[in-house]
């Protein structure tokens, strides 16, 4: 039976039977796509769309959500207005060689649903850096071991922020050097001057403490398991 099972799993594109250890909740985006596909009558679907993810308008037949495996960075002397500094790491090594990556989207989620009355207009700055090897080797100045990918202001803490990391993820795969990202959130806008004390800064940063999680949604296409490839054979 185990031989049969491993052959069946292989035909489904799996090397072995997975045994999840600490499974995360199913991301809502995947659940929505799954439900939508279940409702659609398959025979009416154009075969050309079989290996396309309509929701993101990209080719693909596999969608994965990778949980972040990075840790918070606790500097002894953090920059003055910095509220949060965290390494983000997504283990893309599970992608098979046959799969071509067509999309990668980072989601940074916050658990807040309401604002403090005093910070309704608080603006924060989010910066996302790509780590280079130098950071992991412990070079003292983190500035030298990273490259800025995204810098943007945001005010609404209750929603998630999405970033297109397709190019970065493709490079991780191409060069085989995935050293992760560094996420920084600091007090921004005109409020920087109004929160000069550490106590004031702590209060302003309190909203960012609601940072919940980061995840990377990756769409890949395995042509071996698509109708187009089979009909050519």
């Amino acid at each position: 039976l185990s031989l049969q099972e491993s052959l069946l799993l292989k035909s489904l594109g799996l090397s072995a039977k997975p045994s999840p250890k600490s499974p995360i909740p199913v991301p809502s985006v995947l659940w929505r796509i799954f439900q939508k596909r279940k409702m659609l009558p398959a025979p009416n679907k154009d075969p050309a769309d079989a290996c396309r993810v309509e929701e993101f308008n990209v080719p693909g037949n596999i969608i994965r959500v990778f949980a972040d495996q990075g840790h918070f960075i606790h500097s002894t002397q953090p920059p003055r207005l910095l509220c949060l500094q965290k390494r983000l790491y997504f283990n893309l090594s599970v992608l098979e060689e046959d799969e071509s990556l067509t999309m990668a989207q980072l989601e940074v989620k916050f658990s807040h649903n309401s604002y403090h009355a005093s910070s309704q207009r608080q603006v924060f700055e989010l910066r996302l850096y790509r780590s280079s090897q130098m950071v992991l080797r412990g070079v003292p100045s983190p500035e030298r071991g990273r490259k800025l990918l995204v810098g943007q202001s945001f005010a609404q803490l209750h929603q998630s922020l999405l970033f297109n990391l397709t190019g970065v993820a493709k490079e991780w795969r191409t060069h085989g050097r995935n050293l992760g990202l560094i996420l920084e959130i600091s007090v921004g806008g005109g409020d920087a001057a109004s929160a000069p004390t550490s106590e004031g800064l702590r209060n302003v940063c309190a909203n960012v403490d609601a940072f919940l999680a980061a995840s990377l949604l990756v769409v890949t296409l395995n042509p071996q398991q698509c109708g187009a490839a089979r009909s050519r054979r």
């Binding site: 099972e5 999840p20 995360i24 799954f34 969608i63 994965r64 599970v94």
Partner: protein, 113 residues
Amino acid sequence: SAQHPPVTPSNLCKPRRLYISFSDVGWENWIIAPQGYMANYCLGECPFPLTAELNSTNHAILQTMVHSLDPEGTPQPCCVPVRLSPISILYYDNNDNVVLRHYEDMVVDECGC
């Protein structure tokens, strides 16, 4: 026709209901959804003469003729899936990532000879 006893409609090649439950095969701890699905299968005879309802290929028609001449040496055509549809499966991989994967040819919609 004397050599070919009539085949009742229930014995003709057509899809039969088959529900595959992932818990029956011991995959329930990593497949999130669906818990199972109606996969169906093909069963039945492809008798002489092959009718249009039996979705017969040209090859099946000729094989039927040869079979009628030499029943011992040439088998009757097989009843096989001729149209299948895909399903999507939501599961956990070995790294606890959640995966939604599209699989072609998982449900038998039509059978033929």
